[in-house]
């Protein structure tokens, strides 16, 4: 029992630290960069989001720098690329928070709110934030190129979110007004 409680407490602590860390760094990031995303998912500095990500984490750039055979250049490159990658992940983390915030500010007034879907959304949100925290940690520890292992998990998560949220359409279509009032 004590071991179980200790494990739960440790897990809660790690998650909280990661979330808080992501949050703190987000605010620092915002303050330092002073950038404003404007259109949340739109082009950034003329680059499409996907294109931007592939450029930030590009293996080609690293290979090119390696060809220069300069340790100083490699170090500078890794430092700069790490900063850019961290900024990028923090920004996504911030956007995810904003999406969830907008969702709950609007859903709180909905009389036909679906508790199951909301709970699923909440846990997926937590998972996403946790992934962002893990990405930040990995980038800080191993650099921006050590992230391939997380690719499969994010792909799965993407599928889960699609499935969880598409359920609500079916549920709401089948629910009669009487059922909604009774619930």
């Amino acid at each position: 029992m004590t071991l179980y409680l200790a494990l739960v407490a440790a897990a809660a602590f790690v998650i909280s630290v990661l979330l808080l860390r992501a949050g703190d760094e987000e605010s620092e990031d915002r303050a330092v960069s002073g950038t404003h995303s404007g259109n949340r998912f739109g082009p950034v500095n003329g680059l499409q989001p996907a294109e931007l990500a592939s450029r930030i984490f590009s293996q080609k750039d690293r290979e090119f720098i390696l060809l220069m055979r300069s340790s100083r250049l490699q170090r500078l490159y890794l430092e700069e690329r790490r900063k850019v990658a961290l900024h990028w992940v923090r920004r996504i983390s911030r956007e995810v928070s904003q999406i969830m915030r907008n969702h709950r500010l609007r859903s709180r007034q909905s009389s036909n709110l679906n508790v199951t879907v909301e709970m699923k959304l909440f846990f997926l949100y937590l998972e996403l934030r946790f992934l962002c925290g893990m990405l930040l940690l990995l980038i800080q520890l191993f650099g921006p190129h050590a992230l391939l292992n997380l690719a499969a998990r994010t792909g799965e998560l993407y599928q889960q979110i699609g499935r969880a949220l598409s359920e609500v359409g079916a549920v709401n279509r089948t629910a009669s007004p009487g059922n909604i009032a009774a619930s």
């Binding site: 969702h103 859903s107 909905s110 359409g169 709401n172």
Partner: protein, 253 residues
């Protein structure tokens, strides 16, 4: 003498909060809270007179009135829920489910203990029973407060005061009863004054926040139709999908 002085100040503070509540017409908005405060106030006088002139009945009177006070106190939590979430049916629905889960978990926990433990629990001192009921109240408040923060529910100064003061009162009660039960020797020197002084603190919060009626900020009606919720979920799904896709791009690159 000091104990008597603290008792008098506390009773006067209760009367003050009650009078201000009637003057500011707050009792119409929070009838259960003011009924509770009135009950506690009258109860204090009743206990005082019984203690002074019918000491042999004091124990019975104390526990009977204490459990009435606990029952009305629980209704305050219901009032907080009703007042705070009146304009937020979605958040209210979520609160009902979460409270159901919390109370269900407590019930299951109580039923799954061995039978002799249940008997022991029921037969346990009134003090432990009171502490357990206070813990249930605390869990209900914790659930509600978490939900209020999650959905960014605007309280208004008055409701915030009631919620803050009552939460503090419950928290202090749990600590006091636990200490009283387990470490009586340790707290004996402070016991005469500690409960009364902490209750004065709670009354101070109520007097300050319930001095005048403050409007509760109204929420903008963003969502009206049933289809709006579906659209909202679809929109959130779409935005999440884009965010995850970007994250996926990053790690795949």
């Amino acid at each position: 003498m000091l104990t008597m002085a603290i008792w008098c100040v506390g009773t006067l503070a209760e009367v003050l909060v009650l009078v201000r509540g009637f003057q500011a017409k707050l009792f119409r908005r929070f009838p259960i809270f003011y009924a509770y405060l009135l009950f506690v106030n009258l109860d204090e006088f009743a206990r005082f007179f019984v203690y002074r002139w019918h000491t042999s009945y004091y124990f019975q009177v104390y526990w009977v009135t204490q459990f009435f006070s606990l029952a009305i106190g629980s209704a305050i939590i219901l009032e907080i829920y009703q007042v705070a979430l009146r304009s937020y049916p979605g958040a209210a629905k979520m609160a009902r489910y979460l409270l159901l889960v919390v109370f269900g978990a407590i019930l299951i926990k109580a039923l799954t203990v061995p039978s002799e433990s249940v008997i022991t629990w029921v037969a346990a001192t009134s003090l432990v029973l009171e502490r357990n009921l206070r813990i249930v109240q605390a869990l209900a408040i914790l659930t509600l407060v978490s939900l209020f923060f999650w959905y960014a529910i605007p309280f208004g100064r008055n409701l915030k005061g009631i919620l803050g003061g009552y939460s503090l009162f419950i928290g202090i009660s749990i600590i006091q009863i636990t200490l009283l039960y387990h470490s009586w020797d340790l707290i004996k020197p402070f016991w005469t004054y500690a409960p009364s002084l902490s209750y004065l603190l709670v009354l101070g919060i109520w007097a300050r926040t319930l001095w005048s009626s403050q409007p509760v900020p109204e929420a903008r009606a963003d969502i009206r139709l049933e289809s709006d919720y579906e659209l909202l979920v679809a929109s959130t799904r779409d935005q999440f999908r884009r965010a995850v896709a970007r994250l996926g791009w990053g790690v795949r690159a």
